[in-house]
Symmetry: C2
Subunit: 287 residues, 2 copies
Amino acid sequence: MTGFTGATLDRADKIRGDAAAFAAALRSPRARLLRLDGLDPAVGADGRLAWDSIAELPNAAEPILLGLDGEIPCFVGFEREAARDAPGGRGPWRALGLLPAEDAALWGAARSLLLWHARHGHCANCGTATVVHRAGWGRRCGACAAEHFPRVDPVVIMLAEHGGRVLLGRQPRFPASRYSALAGFVEPGESLEEAVARELWEEAGVRATAVRYVASQPWPFPSQLMIACVATVSGNEITLDRDELEHAIWCSEVEVRAALVGDEGAPFLPPPPYAIAHTLLTHWIGE
Amino acid sequence: MTGFTGATLDRADKIRGDAAAFAAALRSPRARLLRLDGLDPAVGADGRLAWDSIAELPNAAEPILLGLDGEIPCFVGFEREAARDAPGGRGPWRALGLLPAEDAALWGAARSLLLWHARHGHCANCGTATVVHRAGWGRRCGACAAEHFPRVDPVVIMLAEHGGRVLLGRQPRFPASRYSALAGFVEPGESLEEAVARELWEEAGVRATAVRYVASQPWPFPSQLMIACVATVSGNEITLDRDELEHAIWCSEVEVRAALVGDEGAPFLPPPPYAIAHTLLTHWIGE
């Protein structure tokens, strides 16, 4: 299972489009509200996501329906200023390390939604301020009637493979010794296989001759769909795009395995387990 | 190869971010401008996309760099009112039937970009009118400095498979006898495998136990990334969501094959060849 997957809530699409059902969910005495620390998860004493009663929803906040846990409606509250001003700082990683996968996944969905609302308070079509729509799964413009839906930006992330080795790159912002798979946004007018080939050519100057899909994950920073692939490439000569990568290396299966188990002699520090690049490397050494 | 793939232009990302290089491309005496009929393709006497000289760019239009054809910069002109008011009507299908795949793919990228600009003229963050940015591959807000990039909305499209048969559904808007694969938008906080399982449950009441990826394509109506999968499901009892589908059928390999070759006795009219549902059915009978 990839990171940020495995949420168990029923997303209850039918309630989103039914104002009476939404109101009933909000009135349910069992309805609960996700507790957050800024945008980061608040972890309870039981090591799970912490919840309050829906009665704790601040007056200024809008309830977003995350879904149903059995019969229990689960909400998160949206306040524009709070979501926009939440510190990026240290980030949610320590809290996420404590949570089971299903809780990390649910928190990820909440985070993506909150940030989308925070950054999309106006109609892209006409500029008017919009209002929350469909239980928080959209926004609507009262002036031009446009409906807007949360963005999910597809990103390809891939290992180029040649002669039994895979290509890993290092961005300047990475922690020391960290290398990972190359990645980039899918653009209008290309398949994901074409996006993989374009990114490998742009960033590393290698030519993909075949692309195979491996796995996917949502990535809530702010809202990507990561699509992980392995691409066979026609040669191992690299021409780096220095705006994107400061260094790249070809690694053998033995080297990747050493990195994943944390050997001192490993040639690089691998991506963390919740990142799909880790899944991709684990998959590749198992192939 | 899936529909709307196979474009051969170099997207020339480096030129997009370099104002001097972009100006030089625009000044090139060989630069050319995609001719459109509203938003539909204009087909030349040679059965290819028709092009004009960049000198034909109307004063009111903004040049968007589609990419380089060898040394030749290729543009499309954006005029907001023209793009918004283009008739949906009969649509581009007749013209597309005449074009080679690489031309259909290039036109698709242009269409997605033009419609995105037309519907995103204001900053979603603050409401101010935005300006074209990065050679047409973004918009920028002068007031709050937000950058906006063209949307690509990932959509899963899938065959549920049980006992050697696959599930096909019929939307009310389909032409008579047409059945196709079920589909839906990927939401924040789910992998594409989770989106497949959720859509099959919501629309048909069947439970996916395994999902395998098949292929992808860009879909320029207006800008989806279609991700095609086959899902093994645990039973064949269907509970239809009547808001989405008016009917659904389970079809054997023999029945799908008959539909794809156009047999008179086939139980359904298949999706057209440029749709990835067609690719998906062709793949499935070949498995």
